[in-house]
Structure formats: structure tokens, C-alpha cells
């Protein structure tokens, strides 16, 4: 195993995060570009921290999302940067966003449970679109008659919304404490009496 000095390590890590096609984790860095060097975890963390600071005043930022590190443009520049593309960013329907929010905040959750909360049927198209975007996936099946699929969000979802983990979801604490208080107000078993599909 060769040695690498901190300056070279920093250059290599910086370039690797920039040229990688997806966010790259420390583990992936160690298995690829750094695989012939002896690099302590603490050194790697230190270098990444330095890079974050280096870019703080710049137009792009080094951020950590669910599947690793990536450089992304400064949020505040989006009104001008979006002019680089002819098409506007896709807009998502309320039905899609509510379904996604329920899966994000209440995962793992079945389609039937989503329908119970929303009071309407969830179209198959929504589930299909969310799956194709790699935002949700089936993580198992609920052991009830019909064994419905249990949905959860993916790393791709967190990456897209620039989050490192589910705890970065907006108002996650408020949501949870409120959900608990609602549940304690009236017995949860009432849920079972809600109209089924």
C-alpha cells in the first residue's frame, strides 16, 4: 500500500466526487480511487470537511446525501440556473405528493393504508411513476389476507430531495408528535373500521 499526502488526497477526492456519475460514499472512494493507498478514516473525513469549507463561499457546494457526497449548485441560484434548460422542472400532482409523503413519513405502508388516510383510491399510475423514478420500492409484504406490498422510500428519493436521511424530512418531529396525539385522542383500532377498498 502506497502513501499519499493530504494535498494529493484532497485533489483526488475532490475530482472523484466531481466526475462520479452519482453521489459517492467514503466506502466507494476507498474501494476505487483510493484502493492502492493507505488512508485513515479520520484523514478522509478531515479532507472532506476541508473541501466543504473550501466551497462554502462558491457557487456550488459539497453536500452529503443518502448515498454519498456530491457537488450541487447553490439553492439560491436556481432562478437563473434553470434558464439553462428549455423545459421546466416536472411538477407533481397533489395525489402523487400526498402518496409520497405518506410513504416517506409512515413507511413501511401498504396501498390500502394510504387509501384509508387519504380517503380515496391510489391510482396504480402513481405507484408506477414513483417506482420508476426510483423513489419508492417494495420492502416486504404485510402478513394479512392478500399479503399487500409494503412500500418504503429509497436512497434515490433522499438524494433527489437533497436529504441524507429520513430525519431530514421537513417537520419530521412535528409530524410524529402530532400523529401520536391524534392516535391517542381516539383509539387506533377505529382505523380498522374505515371503509376498505
Amino acid at each position: 500500500m502506497k502513501r499519499i499526502n493530504t494535498a494529493q488526497l484532497k485533489q483526488l477526492v475532490e475530482a472523484a466526487i466531481f466526475v462520479a456519475e452519482k453521489p459517492i460514499s467514503k466506502q466507494q472512494l476507498k474501494e476505487t480511487v483510493l484502493n492502492e493507498f493507505t488512508v485513515a478514516d479520520s484523514t478522509l473525513s478531515k479532507v472532506i470537511k476541508e473541501l466543504k469549507l473550501d466551497y462554502q463561499p462558491r457557487g456550488i457546494q459539497l453536500v452529503e446525501v443518502a448515498s454519498g457526497y456530491r457537488f450541487q449548485s447553490l439553492d439560491a441560484l436556481s432562478p437563473w440556473l434553470s434558464k439553462l434548460w428549455q423545459e421546466n422542472a416536472p411538477k407533481y400532482s397533489r395525489a402523487m405528493l400526498e402518496t409520497l409523503a405518506l410513504i416517506a413519513y409512515r413507511q413501511p405502508i401498504t396501498r390500502g393504508e394510504i387509501e384509508q388516510v387519504r380517503g380515496v383510491a391510489v391510482s396504480s399510475n402513481i405507484i408506477k411513476t414513483l417506482t420508476e423514478r426510483d423513489w419508492i420500492k417494495v420492502v416486504g409484504h404485510k402478513e394479512v389476507p392478500g399479503r399487500p406490498a409494503l412500500y418504503a422510500t429509497t436512497k434515490g428519493f433522499l438524494d433527489y430531495f437533497s436529504m441524507a436521511s429520513l430525519s431530514d424530512l421537513p417537520n419530521v418531529d412535528t409530524f410524529e408528535s402530532m400523529a401520536e396525539s391524534i392516535a391517542s385522542d381516539s383509539p387506533l383500532k377505529v382505523l380498522n373500521e374505515a371503509p376498505s377498498e
Binding site: G119, V120, S162
Partner: protein, 287 residues
């Protein structure tokens, strides 16, 4: 029960034309909200007929519509004024049905739930009733609160910075000297031995003659000598021997040279008796 509402004739009720136009039977307050009488119909109840389809698309189902009705009039969900809300909800549903718009079954189901809650409230309470057990009103309130929470979560999620809209990936091209690395497959020595053995066995079975097996060191030396020689210039024979290999090395080299001559791969010449021997690539036949 704080609300007092006159039962409406649902089948004959004309669609509300405008917010301020009072329907025929309207002498009583619409509702008492927290003790205050509500006489005027809320203006937003006016629905232009061509907007109905839009409304169906605007509301994400009956819970959403109910929430809208409650919020618009600044009611409190926890004191859900069931009679007022039911009445307004029915007006929407009736108008939609009158216009033969396809109404999702969920809207009708909610209408039935609201009607049931209302009728229960009209009945005198029985003292032995255990209301806590299955109060449909409490259940509806719980569902409305829960749905409102999800609606808010969806809105929050929509404002979360996201790729393609608020943030963009910073991507850098690799310099031209970056080339994908191919990881070559591993081969074990056993595989080579077995491959050789298999090839030889097939050849023997096929050609019915045995193939002589020379010492490998000789064949290796043959390769080495060949790579030291060329076709144009003669090389002195002694340069093919290395002293530090000792006697065994000389023997191997000598055997290799004999084999190369036999296979007509090299050419040996000697100018006269006891003169130096020179070698070069090529065969006697050609010269």
C-alpha cells in the same frame, strides 16, 4: 348539539346561482358557530357549473373537500359542526350529480357517513350508551386531522429543495486520459495444467501418435535464445551461455540450441575447425 339546520329537499334544491342569493327556505340561521348565528351562506359556495369538473380535480377526495369547507369558514375541526358541514357537502355532491358528473364512490360514502352522524345527533342520547366506543364523529374528526397532517406534509415535501428544480448536479468531465479499467479474470495454475492435459489427450486420441515431452527448462531456454538472436547478424555461440549458471545451465543451453537446430529455427556456422561458432535465426535449407 349546538347546530340547528332545517332539513333540505335535496332532490329539488336548485343549484346555488350566486353567493348572496338566499334560497327559498332560509328564515333560520344556517348554523350557530361557537354560539354565533351564521345567516349568510358563505360566498365561496357559489360554483360555476363549468368549474365543477375542475373542483373534482382540485379536491383530493371527500376528506379534502370537507377540510376545505371547514377551513374556509374558520371552523374548528375539533368541534366539527356536523350539520352545517353536512349540508354544504351535500350541496356540492347534489350539484355534481345533477350535472351527471362522474362522482367517485368515496364522495357518496362520505355523504352516507355524514348523514349517519347527523341522524345520531338528532336522536336523544341514551344514558347507557357508551359513546366513547364508536363515536363516528370522533372518528371523522380523527381522520380529518390525520389527513390535514398528510396534506401539510405533502406541501412541505413540495417545498423541499429538489434536483432539477432548485438544485442541479455539478458534474465535471474527466480528462481525456481517463480510461475505464478492465479487471482481467483470474486464472489458476491448475487450470493451465488441466487445459494442457486435455488438449494433449485430444490430440493423442485424434492423431494416434504420442507427443514427446521435453524438459520445460529446455523449451524456456529455446524461447530465450530465439529472442536474443536475429536473422541478419550472426551472434557468437558463447554469448548464449552464462557462466554464473554453472554446468547445469550450459547443458540446458546446449540442449536448447540442438533442439532449435533440429527444428530448423536457428542456423549454426563455423568458418573452420576450432574456429568460433556463430548462430543466427534461419534454417540451412534456405541458405
Amino acid at each position: 348539539m349546538s347546530e340547528l339546520v332545517k332539513e333540505e329537499n335535496r332532490d329539488n334544491a336548485p343549484p346555488i346561482k350566486e353567493g348572496l342569493a338566499a334560497p327559498v327556505q332560509q328564515p333560520l340561521p344556517l348554523a350557530f358557530i361557537n354560539g354565533e348565528a351564521l345567516i349568510k351562506k358563505p360566498e365561496d359556495l357559489f360554483i360555476p357549473p363549468d368549474a365543477l369538473e375542475v373542483i373534482l380535480e382540485t379536491f383530493e377526495g371527500p376528506l379534502d373537500l370537507l377540510l376545505y369547507l371547514i377551513r374556509k369558514q374558520k371552523f374548528d375541526i375539533t368541534t366539527l359542526p356536523i350539520a352545517t358541514v353536512t349540508k354544504q357537502y351535500m350541496e356540492y355532491v347534489d350539484t355534481m350529480m345533477a350535472l351527471k358528473l362522474e362522482l367517485a364512490a368515496e364522495y357518496l360514502l362520505m355523504a352516507a357517513i355524514l348523514a349517519e352522524i347527523k341522524s345520531r345527533h338528532l336522536l336523544p342520547k341514551r344514558s347507557d350508551d357508551n359513546e366513547e366506543e364508536d363515536d363516528p364523529r370522533a372518528e371523522l374528526i380523527r381522520r380529518l386531522k390525520e389527513y390535514e397532517l398528510v396534506k401539510q406534509a405533502a406541501e412541505d415535501l413540495d417545498t423541499q429543495p429538489r434536483l432539477e428544480r432548485d438544485i442541479f448536479n455539478a458534474h465535471v468531465e474527466v480528462s481525456e486520459s481517463v480510461a475505464p479499467i478492465r479487471i482481467e479474470p483470474d486464472v489458476s495454475l491448475a487450470e493451465i495444467v488441466l487445459a494442457f492435459s486435455a488438449a494433449m489427450k485430444r490430440a493423442e486420441a485424434f492423431e494416434h501418435h504420442t507427443i514427446e515431452r521435453e524438459a520445460l527448462s529446455t523449451r524456456e531456454r529455446m524461447s530465450l535464445i530465439l529472442s536474443m538472436l536475429n536473422t541478419s547478424q550472426y551472434t557468437p555461440l558463447e554469448r548464449l551461455f552464462t557462466v554464473d549458471e554453472g554446468k547445469a545451465g550450459v547443458v540446458v543451453s546446449f540442449l536448447a540450441i540442438l533442439e532449435l537446430v533440429k527444428e530448423q529455427l536457428i542456423l549454426c556456422i563455423q568458418a573452420g575447425p576450432y574456429a568460433k561458432i556463430h548462430v543466427k535465426l534461419g534454417s540451412h535449407e534456405e541458405n
